[in-house]
C-alpha cells in the first residue's frame, strides 16, 4: 500500500507540473510566434521565454525520481 502511495506521489510530482508547464507554454508559444512574425530579432528572447516554464516539469521530474528512489524502485 505504501509503495502504491509513493508511486502515486511520484506520478503526481511529475504529472501536475507537466500539465502546468504545458498550459504555460501553450500561452507563451502563440504570443512568442506572433512577436517573431513582427520582430524576428526577438528569437532568443522567445526561446528563453518558452524554456522558462520547463523548470516546473524538470524539478517535478527530479522530485519524482527522489520519491521513487525512496520507495526503492
Amino acid at each position: 500500500m505504501e509503495i502504491a502511495l509513493l508511486a502515486l506521489a511520484a506520478a503526481l510530482a511529475i504529472g501536475v507540473p507537466a500539465i502546468a508547464t504545458a498550459w504555460a507554454q501553450g500561452r507563451i508559444g502563440p504570443a512568442a510566434a506572433a512577436s517573431l512574425a513582427e520582430k524576428p530579432e526577438l528569437s532568443t528572447t522567445a526561446i528563453i521565454l518558452i524554456a522558462i516554464p520547463e523548470t516546473m516539469v524538470i524539478l517535478g521530474f527530479v522530485v519524482a525520481v527522489l520519491i521513487l528512489l525512496r520507495a526503492g524502485g
Binding site: 526561446i47 522558462i52 523548470t55 527530479v62 527522489l66
Partner: protein, 620 residues
C-alpha cells in the same frame, strides 16, 4: 573580451576634407562620432542633390541586379566605375531592358496560368471540335460548377431552355477534380438573355482568353492548344536574353553598386563632420592599439596639415564608446552565442570565454553518450563543409565539434554508447548516472553553485571597475553568504564535521544584515533568487537521466518486438528520435542556464557596435 577603445580627433584645412574621408574609408578604422557641438559650429555641407542623384541611380542598379538575377560571383569588373552621366544613363538603360524582360515574362506566366485553367475544358470537350454547330454565329459561355453541384445541372438546363425558347444547348462533363465543366451554346439572339440570367443567378463564368480571334471556345481550341505549347519556348528565349544581359552587364552593375554605396557612406560620414569655412574637425573611435596606424596613413596621404590627436579618457564617458569583441580563435566561434543578445556595454565584461568553457560542458553532461557525440561530430563536419570561413554557420559547426567532444568525453566517463550498449561491449563507467541518480543531482547543483558564484565574482569586478564600490562589496557579501550556506549544508549532512554547522549558521546571520545595509531590502529577494538559480541547474541531471532512459528503452525494443529485424529497426528509429531530442533540448537548456541564470548576475547589455567607416561589402 571587449577591445579597449580610444577617441581621436582629426583636424585639417577644409579643402582636404574629401581626401581625409577617403583615406578614412580606405583604412576602415574610424567609427565616426559627431564631435560635441558648440552653438557656433557648422555641420559640414551635405550635398543633398548629389545624395538624391546617387540614391536614384542606386535604385536603378539594384532593380536591374535583382531582375537580371545577377549572382554575387558574376565576375570582376577591372575598375570601380565612376559615377558619370554616361554611367547613370547606362544603368537606366539596363534597368529598362530588365524591366521589359521581366514584364514580358510575367505576362507569359499569367497567360499560361489562364490557359491551364482551360485545359480541363480542352480535355472535356475536345471530341466536339470540328462538329457542326447548331448556331454557327452564336455565343458560348464557359462555367465550372463546384464538386457536388452536378444535381443542379438539370435545373439549369431546364431554366435556360424555358427562358430562351429552346435556343440553347447545354453540354457538361465531370472533371477529374470532381467539378463540372459546363459549355452553354446559344444563338446570337438568345445570348444577352442567357448572360443576364447567369449574372443574376451568380454563376461565375470562366473568362475567355483574349487575343485569339474567336469568341467560341470550340473554334478557338486548336489555337489555344498551340499557344499553350509555344509558351515554354517563349519563356526559355526570354530567360536566355536575361542570362545574356546579366553576363554582359552583371559585373559592371555589381561594381557600380559598390561605388554608389561607398559614395553614400561618404556622404553619411560628411554629416558627422564639423566644418567651418577654413577648417574641419572629425572625431571618432578606434581600437587603442591602432592609433599609430591611422596617424601614419593620414600623415602619408594628406601631409602634416592634417593633425590627429587622442582625446583624453577624462573627456569622454565609457557608455558612449562603441563595442568590438576580440577573443582568442578558440573562443571566437562562441561569440555567436553572445551576439544573439544585445552587445555588452563598453567597460563591462564580455562573457564569451566563459560561454566557451561552460556551454559545451553543460551540453556534454546532458547528452553524455559516445554514440550520439560521434553522430553530432559527423553533423558538425557536414555543416563545416557547407559553410564559408568566418560565417555564422562555420562558427556553429565549431561549437558543434566542441559539444560533440564534450558529449564523447562524458560518454566515456558514464560508460554510455547509445545508452546501455556501452556497458554491453565492455565500456567501464567511472560514474554510472543510471544508478547514481542522487550523486548526479548533487553534481549538477554543485556545478550550478560554481557557475553562479563565478557570475557573482564577475558582477563584483564589473562594479568595482566602474567605481561602484558599494555594489561591489554587496556582491562580495552575497558570495560569502552563498559559500557559507553551502558549507553549512555540507556540515549538516556531515560531509564536513557537524560541529562546524553552528559557526557557519552564525556567520550567515551576521552577513545577512550587512548585505541588507549595503544593497537594501531588495537584496533579500536577490539572494533568494540566487538560490533558485542554483537549483535550476538540476535540469542538467533531469535531462541527462531522461536522455539515458530513452536510449535504454530504444535498446530494449530489440528483444520486445518478436522479430529481431523489426526490433532493430524500431530501436534505430527511436535512437534517431532521441538523438534529435538530445540535440535540441540540451542546447536550449544550456543556453537558458547562461542567458537567465549566469548572465543575469553581471551582464550589462546595451553597447553600440563598433562600425568603422569603410567600403561597402555585399552580404548576399
Amino acid at each position: 573580451m571587449i577591445v579597449r577603445m580610444a577617441r581621436v580627433r582629426v583636424a585639417g584645412p577644409r579643402p582636404r576634407l574629401d581626401q581625409v574621408l577617403e583615406v578614412l574609408q580606405d583604412s576602415g578604422l574610424l567609427h565616426l562620432d559627431r564631435p560635441p557641438t558648440p552653438e557656433t559650429s557648422y555641420p559640414a555641407h551635405t550635398p543633398t542633390k548629389e545624395r538624391r542623384h546617387t540614391e536614384r541611380c542606386l535604385v536603378d542598379v539594384d532593380t536591374a541586379i535583382e531582375r537580371l538575377q545577377v549572382m554575387p560571383n558574376a565576375g570582376r569588373f577591372p575598375d570601380a566605375p565612376a559615377l558619370t552621366r554616361e554611367a547613370v544613363r547606362r544603368a537606366r538603360r539596363v534597368r529598362r531592358q530588365a524591366d521589359r524582360l521581366t514584364g514580358e515574362r510575367t505576362a507569359l506566366e499569367e497567360e499560361r496560368v489562364l490557359l491551364l485553367r482551360y485545359r480541363a475544358f480542352f480535355q472535356a470537350f475536345e471530341s466536339l471540335v470540328g462538329h457542326e454547330l447548331t448556331w454557327p454565329d452564336g455565343q458560348a459561355f464557359y462555367v465550372v460548377l463546384r464538386a457536388g453541384a452536378g444535381g443542379a445541372l438539370g435545373e439549369l438546363k431546364h431554366s435556360l431552355e424555358t427562358a430562351v425558347h429552346g435556343e440553347v444547348e447545354v453540354l457538361h462533363r465531370a472533371l477529374p477534380s470532381g467539378e463540372w465543366a459546363v459549355l452553354i451554346l446559344v444563338s446570337e439572339r438568345a445570348a444577352p438573355t442567357v448572360s443576364s440570367l447567369l449574372s443574376a443567378s451568380r454563376v461565375e463564368e470562366l473568362p475567355a482568353p483574349g487575343g485569339l480571334g474567336h469568341t467560341n471556345l470550340l473554334r478557338a481550341l486548336p489555337s489555344l492548344k498551340s499557344r499553350l505549347a509555344s509558351i515554354p519556348g517563349a519563356l526559355a528565349a526570354l530567360d536566355a536574353d536575361r542570362r545574356s544581359l546579366a553576363r554582359v552587364e552583371g559585373p559592371w552593375l555589381m561594381a557600380l553598386r559598390a561605388s554608389l554605396r561607398d559614395r553614400l557612406l561618404l556622404l553619411d560620414a560628411r554629416s558627422r563632420v564639423l566644418a567651418a569655412t577654413h577648417l574641419f574637425v572629425i572625431e571618432g573611435w578606434l581600437p587603442g592599439a591602432r592609433i599609430g596606424e591611422l596617424e601614419q596613413r593620414l600623415q602619408s596621404a594628406c601631409g602634416p596639415e592634417v593633425v590627429t590627436s587622442t582625446i583624453g579618457q577624462e573627456d569622454w564617458s565609457a557608455p558612449d564608446a562603441p563595442v568590438a569583441l576580440h577573443n582568442p580563435p578558440i573562443f571566437r566561434p562562441f561569440e555567436v552565442v553572445t551576439r544573439t543578445l544585445p552587445l555588452p556595454k563598453y567597460g563591462t565584461i564580455d562573457p564569451t570565454p566563459f560561454v566557451a568553457v561552460f556551454f559545451p560542458a553543460f551540453f556534454g553532461l546532458m547528452l553524455g553518450d559516445v554514440g550520439y557525440g560521434l553522430m553530432l561530430a559527423a553533423l558538425a563536419w557536414l555543416l563545416r563543409r557547407r559553410s564559408t570561413p568566418d560565417s555564422a554557420l562555420r562558427s556553429i559547426s565549431t561549437i558543434g565539434f566542441a559539444c560533440a567532444s564534450s558529449a564523447v568525453a562524458f560518454g566515456l566517463v558514464f560508460g554510455e554508447l547509445f545508452g546501455s550498449l556501452g556497458q554491453a561491449i565492455g565500456l567501464k563507467p567511472f560514474f554510472n548516472r543510471e544508478t547514481a541518480t542522487v550523486s548526479f543531482l548533487g553534481l549538477a547543483i554543485a556545478l550550478g553553485a560554481v557557475h553562479i558564484a563565478l557570475g557573482i565574482v564577475l558582477a563584483g569586478l564589473n562594479a568595482w571597475h566602474r567605481g561602484h564600490r558599494r555594489e561591489a562589496m554587496g556582491r562580495g557579501v552575497t558570495l560569502s553568504m552563498l559559500v557559507l550556506t553551502v558549507l553549512a549544508l555540507l556540515a549538516a549532512v556531515e560531509v564536513l564535521p557537524a560541529a562546524l554547522f553552528t559557526p557557519f549558521a552564525i556567520a550567515i546571520l551576521v552577513a545577512f544584515p550587512v548585505l541588507v545595509a549595503l544593497e537594501g531590502v531588495v537584496a533579500i529577494i536577490e539572494l533568494l533568487s540566487t538560490f533558485g538559480h542554483i537549483l535550476s541547474y538540476a535540469r542538467i541531471m533531469a535531462l541527462g537521466t531522461a536522455s539515458l532512459m530513452l536510449a535504454v528503452v530504444a535498446n530494449e525494443m530489440v528483444g520486445a518486438m518478436g522479430s529481431v529485424v523489426v526490433g532493430v529497426l524500431f530501436a534505430l528509429l527511436f535512437h534517431l528520435v532521441n538523438f534529435a531530442i538530445g540535440l535540441f533540448s540540451p542546447t536550449i537548456h544550456a543556453l537558458r542556464l547562461h542567458y537567465v541564470e549566469f548572465f543575469g548576475h553581471f551582464f550589462s547589455p546595451g553597447g553600440a557596435e563598433y562600425r568603422p567607416l569603410g567600403h561597402w561589402h555585399s552580404t548576399t
